[in-house]
């Protein structure tokens, strides 16, 4: 039948397009491009043991992960401390790139910002970081980094 032929042709074109791109997926607002070899703006809100406030910036499991991630993309971290609510509002306005506050995936903020896939599960709570919505290249990069650090994270959360 004619239309089936068109459909197969169309599928072929679409798949060709998908496989021909090197940096896939991309960011609508080019977040990954900006922070690589640049500045990664991270908001943090204290929530031990995930984020612990200190004299020289935050420490804790999530803060250390962010530092290592920044290093992996050759970025300088610019820390900003505030309440979780203010930070997530700044993230929504694209004034921050990333927020850590010991967040879990059942937080009600989901529709305005995005969460990474859970990087660890402790006491049935799935822990996530908050990123700008739809910045898929950046999200994929971060999620992939967190996945590679899985055993490191597991070791740290063990009591």
């Amino acid at each position: 039948m004619h239309s089936s032929g068109y459909f197969i042709f169309y599928l072929f074109c679409v798949l060709l397009l998908a496989t021909s791109c090197q940096d896939f997926p991309k960011d609508p607002e080019k977040t990954l491009e900006q922070v690589s070899n640049g500045t990664l703006k991270v908001g943090y809100s204290e929530n031990p043991p995930w984020v612990v406030k200190g004299p020289d910036g935050p420490t804790g499991i999530e803060a250390d992960l962010v530092k290592a991630f920044a290093k992996s993309i050759n970025a300088q971290v610019e820390w900003q401390n505030d309440s979780e609510q203010n930070l997530l509002e700044d993230l929504e306005k694209n004034e921050l790139h990333l927020v850590i506050a010991g967040l879990t995936d059942d937080s009600p903020w989901k529709s305005k910002i995005s969460f990474t896939r859970p990087f660890v599960e402790v006491e049935k709570k799935k822990h996530v970081m908050a990123v700008i919505m739809g910045e898929n290249a950046f999200t994929v990069k971060l999620e992939s980094f967190l996945n590679q650090q899985k055993s490191v994270i597991q070791n740290r959360v063990q009591p």
């Binding site: 679409v14 998908a18 995005s114 919505m133 739809g134 898929n136 999620e143 996945n147």
Partner: protein, 322 residues
């Protein structure tokens, strides 16, 4: 009390009906698996949530067909002297409403996403230790919900016409809606990968216009059928040419001076009554009417109940004037 005769499909249509039932069982099974696949790949993507909701809704026509097909051929009884044919029209109404809702839901969702400028986030999924972009999995899920739906829909169309099954026809439209949304979602997801956050919603919006048009046409027809509109064909909703044949038959009788008739659709079948003024009474009237009745019924299996009423003068407002 006189009950209408029990309805069964004529012998030559029995295998067609069996095939339709089999196709609908396959459709139900297939749609359940697609909704599971879509559910597993949806992550926190709103677009995939819509696709999942739509999969659930699109079960309506096939399920209502299967339910109706167990009921409509039941023997008429004291409580239901006209039989159970109308259940087909009710099933048709349910299916049409589901199709219309799928279209409406898609429009609402994509317009909402575009206005709020919600950028869809699609991250990674880890399968057996391998990281894979969830977008690729979504595309695979969409392919699975596209190609079989296309084949099933194509197979149902000729059966729907033969069986005069508008519900089955709507289900074929629903399959078309399924594969079109799937086919539109694939470039939509790739568009998101290209950094075009609006791609998925624009693709969905274009498709939803087509679905809502099909949904509206069927919904209107389902309501009109229940309101006893004159019978319409299954595929293009035109007045059934069978009515012309009946008119022709009545006109061809030399013993009839004047006549008028009306018909309505009850699920698969038509019923109606004719009023006629005979030329002169020759004592043969009863035989002539019986013979004519048989001839009209022999025109098509769909004419299930036809009543002929001899009168001295045609009723003024009762019947359709021809």
């Amino acid at each position: 009390m006189k009950q209408v005769s029990r309805f069964e499909y004529p012998e030559e249509l029995q295998p067609v009906f069996k095939k339709a039932k089999k196709l609908e069982w396959i459709t139900v099974g297939y749609l359940i698996t697609t909704s599971i696949v879509v559910f597993l790949t949806m992550g926190n993507s709103q677009a995939m949530k819509t696709a999942w909701f739509e999969d659930i809704l699109s079960l309506t026509p096939s399920i209502s067909f299967l339910i109706a097909s167990r009921v409509f051929h039941k023997k008429p009884n004291k409580n239901f002297p006209y039989g159970y044919h109308r259940v087909v029209s009710i099933a048709y109404l349910c299916s049409a409403l589901a199709l219309f809702s799928v279209g409406g839901f898609l429009i609402y969702d994509s317009v909402h996403t575009l206005l709020k400028q919600e950028h869809p986030t699609i991250g990674i999924k880890v399968i057996f230790g391998h990281e894979i972009w969830l977008g690729y999995l979504m595309i695979a899920a969409m392919l699975y919900s596209t190609i079989p739906a296309m084949i099933l829909g194509r197979m149902k169309l000729p059966l729907a016409k033969q069986l005069h099954e508008k519900n089955l026809y709507t289900d074929a439209d629903m399959n078309k809606a399924d594969w079109m949304t799937g086919a539109a979602a694939i470039p939509g997801i790739i568009g998101i990968g290209m950094g075009w956050w609006w791609a998925d919603s624009v693709a969905a919006l274009l498709i939803s216009l087509d679905i809502i048009k099909d949904g509206y046409t069927n919904l209107k027809q389902a309501v009109f059928d229940l309101m006893d509109q004159i019978p319409k064909t299954v595929d293009d909703q035109e007045t059934d040419p069978l009515l012309n044949q009946i008119e022709h038959k009545l006109k061809g009788q030399s013993w009839i001076k004047e006549h008028a008739f009306r018909m309505r659709e009850e699920g698969h079948i038509y019923s109606g009554e004719a009023f006629l003024v005979p030329h002169d009474q020759n004592g043969q009237l009863t035989q002539q009417i019986e013979k004519l009745l048989q001839e009209v019924r022999d025109l098509d299996w769909r004419i299930q109940e036809f009543t002929i009423m001899p009168v001295r003068k045609l009723p003024q407002n009762g019947a359709e004037e021809n």
